[in-house]
């Protein structure tokens, strides 16, 4: 899952600091944050991808990251479970904590970290295994199941919570890759939640799906938000508006503005946010 996402770092525009605000507009803090990021900077070689990003992610909240391509939203998302570690030239600095634990501390093992901070990618990427084994994979490597019966229970619960159980319960041994795109994405969500994460990161989870499958995923995000914190990177402004309680707008590597989604979409404070969400030249 992690290896499949390896690749060259994305092209980043040079940062024109003059156009950007020095500090983020809006309240970056929440009460009882589950995750805190402070002054996060990411460099790909000598290029700065994001700079000075500070943001809290609350418990059981859905927050959207929006912004033009290359703005750093995916880069920041990938910092939150150290996915950027897989890119050799990438250097992350700043402070990111999950329930108070520094996730970049030298003694942190990224495998259990990525169980605590699950991830769902743009393109559904089930393993070339059965539906059951796809969901059982995480609990197995993390040793969460006591026996076969317990494992079955974990898999069923994860599939139920992902809204897929009724569609696949009688064909759990079929290959996961044989499902439709929307079902595959829900299978990937079931796989992520099977290890009981604290946060789920979603990187454009619906961009490869049709409107019906998208609606199902959005409904699922809403359902899951009662238990998990969900961070979603999306290019669809309407999706951000529909699913998230808060929205963060990134531009040229800075977190320009963050706030309640309804306020941000009705009355953005910064001109760049306004220009982006109204489809004007920035």
């Amino acid at each position: 899952m992690i290896e499949s996402q390896k690749g060259a770092p994305p092209e980043m525009p040079d940062i024109d600091l003059a156009k950007l605000p020095n500090t983020t507009i809006g309240d970056i803090y929440v009460e009882n944050p589950r995750m805190t990021a402070r002054q996060v900077q990411v460099n790909y070689g000598d290029k700065t991808a994001i700079e000075g990003v500070s943001l809290d992610i609350g418990g059981c909240e859905v927050i959207s990251f929006i912004g033009p391509s290359g703005c750093g939203k995916s880069t920041f998302l990938r910092c939150l479970n150290r996915m950027n570690d897989t890119i050799k030239t990438c250097k992350v600095s700043g402070d990111i904590r999950l329930n108070g634990d520094d996730i970049y501390a030298p003694d942190v093992d990224v495998v259990p970290l990525r169980a605590r901070v699950g991830m769902v990618f743009q393109k559904p990427n089930p393993f070339p295994k059965s539906i059951f084994d796809n969901v059982a994979y995480g609990p197995k490597i993390h040793g969460l199941a006591e026996d076969r019966g317990h494992m079955k229970q974990i898999v069923q619960e994860a599939l139920e919570r992902a809204g897929l159980w009724s569609e696949v319960h009688n064909r759990l041994d079929d290959p996961g890759t044989g499902l439709s795109g929307g079902q595959q994405q829900r299978l990937c969500i079931a796989r992520a939640i099977a290890v009981s994460p604290e946060i789920i990161l979603m990187d454009e989870p619906c961009s490869a799906l049709d409107p019906i499958a998208t609606a199902r995923i959005e409904h699922l995000i809403h359902e899951l938000s009662s238990e998990y914190s969900i961070v979603i990177v999306t290019h669809s402004l309407q999706q951000a508006a529909r699913v998230s309680k808060r929205t963060a707008y990134f531009h040229l590597g800075r977190l320009v503005e963050v706030g309640l989604t309804d306020r941000l979409f009705m009355k953005p404070q910064h001109e760049m946010t306004n220009n982006y969400i109204t489809g004007r030249f920035g």
């Binding site: 402004l237 009705m266 009355k267 109204t278 489809g279 004007r280 030249f281």
Partner: protein, 247 residues
């Protein structure tokens, strides 16, 4: 805010809706002027023209609302674009109501031509209508220029219109008490005064929409309502004045 949309068609659609609001505003201004002039000059032909011109205003309101709904459905606008479209729907409704009041004034003018004239009141009504027409012009300019300060000044000016109405209310009561033969004409004139006062309220509402469009906030201050004629306390306070007038 001055940047143009990447999708130029979207920009054209918004511009077209704005242009229709301005066109509608122009027709409504003309209908206020026409209704007021027909009353003052006792001009039946002009009154008829005002009545007939209402249909074009109604059609424009329908077109604006249809177009705004279409753009909301197809473009999913946000922020200032969404605020523009929400406000055009309300503003076109306000304009349509103002035109209805003009039409009503024109209808009553036809009736008043058959009745004895009441000294002084047509001039006061013309002043009142003139003030509302100027306020409307400023509210529409504020809309086009996204001028919040101008919109707020329009809101403040509604008080003067209300005060003219209060004065007329007392005058009409006095005339009716003086001579019951004035009652029919005064009732019509009172309705006309009330119509103009309501026009002022609709213009104020347009100005409030401009504030929302430009700032994203509705005006917070409770605006002053100077029309005291519907207040029990004010009515009881007026009684001695009427008595004096009737004696």
């Amino acid at each position: 805010m001055s940047d143009l949309h990447i999708v130029s068609q979207f920009q054209s659609e918004l511009d077209a809706i704005k242009a229709k609001i301005i066109k509608m505003g122009g027709l409504v201004e003309a209908s206020i002027v026409g209704a007021s002039a027909s009353l003052y000059n006792r001009d039946a032909e002009l009154a008829e023209h005002v009545r007939a011109s209402d249909a074009a205003i109604d059609t424009l309101e329908q077109q604006i609302n249809d177009e705004a709904a279409r753009v909301i459905a197809l473009r999913s606008p946000n922020a200032e674009d969404l605020r523009l479209l929400l406000t055009v729907i309300k503003v076109s409704g306000n304009l349509e109501r103002i035109a209805d009041y003009s039409k009503n004034i024109a209808k009553r003018t036809r009736v008043l031509l058959e009745l004895r004239s009441i000294d002084g009141s047509p001039a006061a009504l013309r002043r009142m209508a003139r003030e509302v027409e100027l306020m409307l012009g400023d509210a529409l300019n504020a809309y086009v220029q996204q001028d919040q300060a101008l919109a707020l000044s329009v809101i403040a000016r509604d008080e003067a219109v209300d005060q003219i109405y209060n004065t007329l209310f007392r005058e009409f009561l006095t005339f009716m008490m003086e001579d019951p033969r004035n009652i029919t004409a005064c009732m019509h004139l009172h309705f006309i005064a009330k119509n103009i006062e309501r026009m002022g309220d609709h213009v104020t509402s347009i100005a409030e929409q401009v504030v929302f469009y430009t700032s994203g906030e509705k005006p917070t201050d409770e605006r002053t309502k100077a029309d005291v004629t519907s207040s029990d306390a004010a009515l009881s306070g007026m009684k001695p004045t009427w008595s004096t007038g009737a004696e």
